[in-house]
Assembly symmetry: C2
Homo-oligomer: 274 residues x 2
């Protein structure tokens, strides 16, 4: 049996905890792995906890009792969340993003795996106490953010499709009307992809009037699922907003196609906190 | 200025390295952060490296010279990759997955964020020395695996769309013929989403005859991009295979709809290694 030094134990423990966010690891698992007394393990965990907390990178939660153990809750500090959102706002203001019709090109940001992970960590921090069972998003561009968030929350993802696919098996479909362009559409979710009564967190990349998110509320109602939060990377101003309670990291105030100017401010997450 | 003990330094260093796979961190960054001599930092890094390597969780790569530093390369051990693939094969054999037409329901597996991360880690390990610039996938179900892989490789993702969307800006589109069902389709990729000449890794969830992957080769040729690898979670037997060189974790040999039986064996990654 391998003999672990404390220094090696600390590295390995940090690695184990970070690799399994929100998973409860019994103290005895660590004690056996490192062939060490539980008291030593507890001292190690206290060190890990202190570093995570001081650096704003997360915390360790202790669950006592026979089914107890320790779990890593990833967090992001207010300061880092603000810096990331400022960077996001700066990126969004780049006039090269302007597409015909005043749409914004976002695929480069959503393709940036480090940025996506950080945004997921912000959402996971904001919604960590909502007892989320599953993250729900709609194809296509919201998917990376949904996985980044769900991974940090340690829960699965269910993807709503805009068309129903044979590979989804039996699905529930509802018809929708886009709030901004009044286009008709449909949203489908596989029956098997969500437990009835699940507490769901809706994550998407961009919200205009909120017709899609509103449609997801209606669709989730068919699963008797509860929506415990809505997080979008960015939103744009809309005359009529179909969703009231949501968190955004950035608000696109104006896209002036002729002047090629985009005005962006910090999202609702930071409202009333400046 | 905060005074760091070695134990705290080890925890924080592990956290920093794991949070930024493949990112080169100069030794001086650590020396400043911890207010410690570079020799102490080097000793710490040696401890981290040894633990990662012994546990098969990755390695630290040292780049010397003025622009040098240290980077974390995530790895998964052969043993864990095999165990994960065995688990995947077991899951795939569940007859409840059989859908009309012999399709398999996979969305539960692809919604499992921990499994997706692990599969991404296998692909990142297999393809770590191919100098990948970007991971390319096709919507929808391949997306989570592509992000999990790209995140571990520290590169961006480009998503090929089956229809061209206004939010993608200028796109390159090609027409495709499905190899298995001979259906017509199209694949589009935003011009901006990939640098010309990029070394790309194609990741997808399931391959039958390989028509979609073949189409992606053709599409990527329009970007003068090179395909340096193809990884799919699972493949099924096809009479005519349009792609030769690929890695799969599981091979679906037979789906017997009437008998409700699925036969699955380990994928090409393990061929010749049993």
């Amino acid at each position: 049996m391998k003999k672990w030094k404390r220094s090696a134990r600390l590295v390995d423990m940090t690695q184990q905890l970070m690799s399994h966010p929100h998973r409860l690891i019994p103290l005895s698992t660590f004690a056996e792995r490192y062939q060490a007394a539980k008291s030593s393990i507890s001292e190690d965990l206290a060190i890990v906890h202190d570093v995570f907390r001081e650096e704003g990178e997360g915390m360790l939660e202790t669950v006592s009792g026979a089914a107890g153990g320790i779990r890593f809750i990833p967090r992001i500090s207010d300061e880092r969340a603000r810096k990331l959102s400022e960077r996001l706002c700066g990126e969004l203001q780049n006039p090269a993003r302007i597409l015909p019709g005043g749409y914004l090109y976002l695929s480069d940001l959503l393709g940036d795996t480090a940025l996506v992970r950080d945004i997921g960590c912000i959402f996971a921090t904001v919604f960590h106490d909502r007892r989320v069972d599953a993250v729900v998003t709609v194809e296509t561009k919201g998917i990376p953010l949904a996985y980044a968030t769900a991974g940090q929350l340690g829960v699965p993802v269910a993807i709503v499709r805009r068309d129903s696919r044979i590979t989804e098996g039996s699905v529930v479909t509802i018809n929708t009307v886009s709030g901004s362009s009044k286009r008709l559409g449909s949203l489908s979710l596989s029956r098997r992809s969500l437990q009835e009564g699940a507490r769901t967190l809706i994550i998407d990349d961009f919200m205009k009037a909120g017709g899609t998110v509103r449609g997801m509320f209606d669709l989730l109602e068919e699963f008797r699922a509860e929506v415990v939060g809505v997080g979008v990377m960015a939103e744009s101003r809309a005359e009529e907003r179909l969703v009231d309670d949501y968190i955004s990291l950035a608000t696109v105030d104006e896209v002036d196609v002729r002047e090629r100017r985009i005005r962006v401010k910090m999202g609702t997450l930071f409202h009333g906190r400046d």
